[in-house]
């Protein structure tokens, strides 16, 4: 079943086109990768899906409803959650409260604060932040904040999770750990994931299918093996080797 569908989506700022005629679909339960050089339009695509911006052309459909004209909170209510490339924690709030907000306002709202805190504790445990419950979010390290970003998105109990370069800036071992967490979350929570990454190895290990963007257009789509062998992809990424 198709959960998310982009139909000929375009976004222009003034004269500059960040995205042009991009179409792809994501089935329920899939893990899709979104790949491309800086400026290829990946984060723009996320912003359009999440509702932070509106496409200048095309349509975006989520679970049978058209979402490209909805504000971010309405899209979140339908079950879409996202992380930001540059993390945006609620710094002055405690780690647990970051998730409580999401649990009380997100897709599957908890009715009481204690239920929300319950959900928060559970998720924080899953991502490995259980010890840091009471700390103010701004005191976390970068790696911690990245986990918090994912945890907060999860606290809305989403059906679709958009992960924007959550591995950037992590060491090799941290990357491996994060991938394990993501895979576990995907299994346990019946999530659908769309993942933006620069770390090629991560994408090929994690995703069932990869969509490649270049200068705002989709140039390839397929399994990791197909993508890494695709001559157009290789041409655009001069010398990118299958990792």
């Amino acid at each position: 079943m198709t959960l998310l569908r982009l139909d000929n989506v375009g976004k222009s700022y003034g004269g500059v086109a960040a995205l042009r005629g991009v179409s792809f679909a994501v089935g329920a339960g899939e893990i899709i990768g979104l790949m491309g050089a800086n400026g290829a339009g990946k984060t723009t695509a996320f912003s359009l899906i999440a509702g932070t911006q509106r496409p200048t052309s095309g349509e975006i459909w989520f679970d049978g409803a058209r979402i490209d004209r909805k504000p971010p909170y309405a899209v979140a209510h339908l079950g879409v959650a996202r992380t930001f490339q540059i993390v945006r924690p609620f710094g002055g709030l405690r780690v647990i409260d970051n998730l409580v907000v999401a649990a009380m306002y997100g897709h599957a709202r908890e009715r009481t604060r204690s239920a929300a805190e319950e959900r928060a504790r559970e998720i924080l445990h899953e991502v490995g932040l259980a010890r840091d419950l009471e700390r103010r979010a701004e005191t976390l390290t970068l790696a911690g904040r990245k986990r918090l970003e994912i945890a907060r998105a999860l606290a809305t109990s989403p059906r679709l999770l958009l992960l924007d370069e959550v591995l950037a800036g992590l060491t090799a071992s941290e990357v491996a750990e994060a991938l394990d967490i993501i895979r576990a979350l995907h299994r346990r929570r019946n999530l659908t994931l769309v993942v933006i990454e620069h770390v090629m190895r991560a994408l090929t290990q994690l995703c069932q299918r990869i969509v490649v963007l270049h200068h705002g257009e989709k140039i390839a789509e397929g399994s990791p093996a197909e993508i890494t062998a695709d001559p157009r992809v290789i041409a655009c990424y001069l010398g990118t080797r299958k990792a």
């Binding site: 504000p71 909170y73 309405a74 930001f84 409260d97 907000v101 306002y105 997100g106």
Partner: protein, 304 residues
């Protein structure tokens, strides 16, 4: 360990004591107490919106003035027990009308916009009154100081209860998230425009009623005074002084400010204003969380 019911008990006793004040205190002391209650009511209401959401309103004088004006207009037309709540309602309607466009503007621009709007309304009322041929309005036969005091006590208590409830419930959680990062808050489902507007409207009701009560106290309505931006500045200074995150913050700030002004007003109003300015600057720079906020920080660090 201080438990919630300890605080509730102490509060009830304190409120009871205050309620009995008109029986023992003379008009001068009662007047000071009335002022303290007035600023408590104003600042707690302001904190419910601005303190929690981070959208600093420098225009709450508009709601105070609007409430005063409505009470004056309804004087002798409608019984007072009706006129005051209607004044609060009028302020809420004004807030709804203003909030809808103004809350789209962020940060410092919201601050100066609210100030500009408050001044704009002031001059419109001045013009209207002039157009009606009115040079100030005098009210004769207003309620006694004792009655006004009890009413203001009610508003002050109400404002603290409201701030407490909002802060500890879902609305407060959402506002705090907006204050931290509005974009991230919307991404997790917080309907920021709706929450901001709701809090803004709620924060206008009590100031409207306070304005009505105070105009009954002064018996003379004059737009320049009723809509004076000094009211807005004082509210903000009180909240910054005492801290706007807890119910106790504006309470402390109001008491400190009124007591201090009592010591200085007799000398010169300019000195009072200078001290206000100095307090504002000093606290913004060094103690932005207010006295209560700083005390909590120190307490928390001491507990370890």
């Amino acid at each position: 360990m201080i438990r919630q019911w300890h605080i509730a008990l102490i509060s009830l006793v304190a409120i009871g004591a205050c309620a009995a004040l008109p029986l023992v205190a003379g008009p001068y002391a009662l007047g000071i107490a009335l002022n303290i209650l007035m600023w408590i009511a104003l600042a707690e209401s302001w904190a419910m919106f601005s303190g929690l959401s981070g959208y600093i309103s420098l225009g709450h004088a508009a709601f105070y003035g609007a409430g005063a004006y409505v009470t004056v207009l309804l004087w002798m037309v409608v019984p007072l027990w009706l006129a005051i709540p209607v004044s609060g309602l009028a302020a809420a309607v004004l807030a709804a009308g203003l909030g809808w466009p103004c809350l789209r503007v962020r940060g410092p621009y919201f601050v100066i916009l609210t100030l500009g709007v408050s001044e704009f309304i002031k001059y419109i009322v001045i013009s209207t009154e002039a157009g009606l041929g009115r040079n100030g309005r005098l009210l004769i036969g207003t309620p006694s100081l004792g009655i006004l005091f009890e009413a203001m006590l009610g508003l002050a208590v109400l404002s603290m209860i409201v701030l407490y409830l909002v802060r500890s419930r879902r609305l407060g959680t959402g506002l705090l998230a907006i204050r931290e990062d509005e974009v991230a808050a919307e991404a997790v489902g917080v309907n920021a425009p709706a929450l901001k507007l709701l809090a803004f409207v709620l924060s206008a009701i009590i100031p409207g009623m306070v304005g009505g009560l105070m105009i009954l106290r002064s018996t003379y309505f004059e737009p320049l005074q009723a809509f004076s931006p000094t009211t807005s500045f004082t509210i903000v200074t009180i909240a910054i002084l005492g801290g706007s995150d807890e119910v106790s913050g504006p309470l402390l700030g109001a008491i400190l400010l009124v007591l201090m002004s009592e010591l200085l007003w007799a000398r010169a109003p300019e000195i009072y204003m200078i001290i206000l300015g100095v307090l504002l600057v000093a606290f913004v720079l060094f103690v932005p969380e207010g006295i209560v906020g700083r005390a909590q920080r120190v307490w928390g660090a001491a507990k370890g």
